[in-house]
């Protein structure tokens, strides 16, 4: 039987989707079935796993809030203003996206070795605030880029109309642009938070991998692997997957109803 072009393309597209879904399902299933329910529960309730869950959620949330605090106005400035050096700044912000997180963490470590960095190094190097800083460094450029694309897609004339109706530039941003950017904002928050929860490379370089101190979920996975504790490792992977998927699902499902300022 000879297939026409439309049909064979549809079959190819669906087959690719199925193959990808099967691949990730098989990987996840192998992790899920590794530990018995009793082993799973006991490992999940252990002090160390509980600590790493709480530390990851707390640091990722702080890093995401801090990131949005800078990324929203920075992205707006990149999208709306013309100034000398804008191209260079735009390019500079690709660096943390293109650079491996481990290199970014190493760069931060080198920075804290400089005379200026030394003033703050005791607060960040191998300390919990170092985790937040590493997560912030990894997600902030990404968040700025996504938000810039969001603001670029919003016609500036909405703000112009709002200003003729009496808004200052900031009021027009708050009352109009921010609402029109809601979808992009929620996506950025979700992606940044999930990326921060899963951050490993920069964190391990700057904050180290100290049990029950700088032990986030990815670092706990790394430490479990070193200790050959595969049961704990499988539990941590499942927790990480559930936390990430739950956050993305909640934001997709309910995000549109959340108030914006």
């Amino acid at each position: 039987m000879k297939l026409d072009g439309n049909r064979s393309f549809s079959i190819l597209a669906l087959a690719s989707l199925l193959a990808l879904s099967l691949f990730f399902s098989a990987v996840l299933l192998s992790v899920l079935l590794y530990a018995s329910p009793r082993e799973f529960l006991s490992s999940l309730l252990s002090k160390e796993v509980q600590f790493s869950i709480q530390l990851s959620l707390a640091t990722a949330t702080i890093a995401t809030v801090a990131c949005m605090f800078f990324a929203v106005p920075a992205a707006y400035a990149l999208s709306r203003f013309s100034f000398r050096g804008k191209g260079a700044i735009d390019l500079l912000l690709y660096l943390p996206i293109g650079l491996p997180p481990v290199a970014l963490g190493a760069a931060l470590l080198i920075f804290f070795g400089t005379p200026v960095g030394k003033i703050f190094s005791s607060k960040f190097v191998f300390e919990v605030p170092g985790i937040v800083l590493a997560q912030f460094a990894v997600i902030s450029a990404l968040a700025t880029k996504i938000l810039k694309a969001t603001f670029d897609s919003i016609d500036e004339e909405y703000e112009a109309v709002a200003r003729t109706l009496g808004c200052t530039r900031f009021q027009a941003f708050r009352r109009v642009t921010l609402h029109l950017a809601r979808g992009g904002l929620l996506t950025t928050i979700a992606i940044s938070w999930v990326r921060a929860v899963g951050e490993f490379g920069a964190t391990v370089m700057l904050a180290g991998a100290t049990r029950m101190k700088t032990e986030t979920l990815p670092i706990a996975i790394y430490l479990s692997l070193q200790a050959a504790d595969v049961v704990k490792m499988s539990v941590l992977i499942i927790v990480l997957a559930v936390v990430s998927l739950a956050a993305l699902f909640l934001i997709q499902r309910f995000g549109e109803r959340w108030p914006i300022i």
Partner: protein, 233 residues
Amino acid sequence: MISVEDLNLRLGNFALVDVNLRVGRGEHLVILGPIGSGKTTLLKCIAGIYTPDSGRIKIDGRDISRLPPEKRNLGYVPQDYKLFPHLNVAENVAFGLKVRGLSDVGERVREVLELVGLPELSSRRVEQLSEGQKQLVAIARALAIKPHVLLLDEPFARLDSVAKARLRGELMRIHEQTGTTMIHVTHDFEAALGLGGRVAVMDGGRLSQELPEVARYLQERLGYIPVDLEGEV
């Protein structure tokens, strides 16, 4: 009265050149000109969205050239309305009143929606409106703040012939009832000439309000001179 004196603005390859304009209080001025002639740029200069390189814009003798848009109290209705999609009709109309922190917002919103003939649509979402209704809501939003001048950018551009005829009637009625000074730019010669306002023409960034020039321009474009302007050439 609003006046524009020797206004110049360069935007890339395009320039407004020595634009002079006078519109009396309560007058309805229609600026005719082909697409790309600088009509929208001129409206945006008046509204404060663009800052001219030189020249002055005055309202009742007061120079507003350097004031930001929010301090000018001018109503601006862009070509594609730019109704705020996250707000319903009443909220759109109330927008400028709320920004100003005015009381009795609800009453003013009702009043303006009645003026444009859409009181029953106050709770409607803007994406549920027809093009003609969107245009009227945008006009109501601009009129709600009682502007010194209403600036209309190509109000007929997105309408079919039936909606165009209806809007023309509505604009004439609104102008008659409110006495608001209107500057209305369009490339639609036929639609604009039916409005009964004074006509200026714009081409290549230059504007003329002189009747002989306007009449000559219309003859070139339309092939005839409208009855009101006969005898000027």
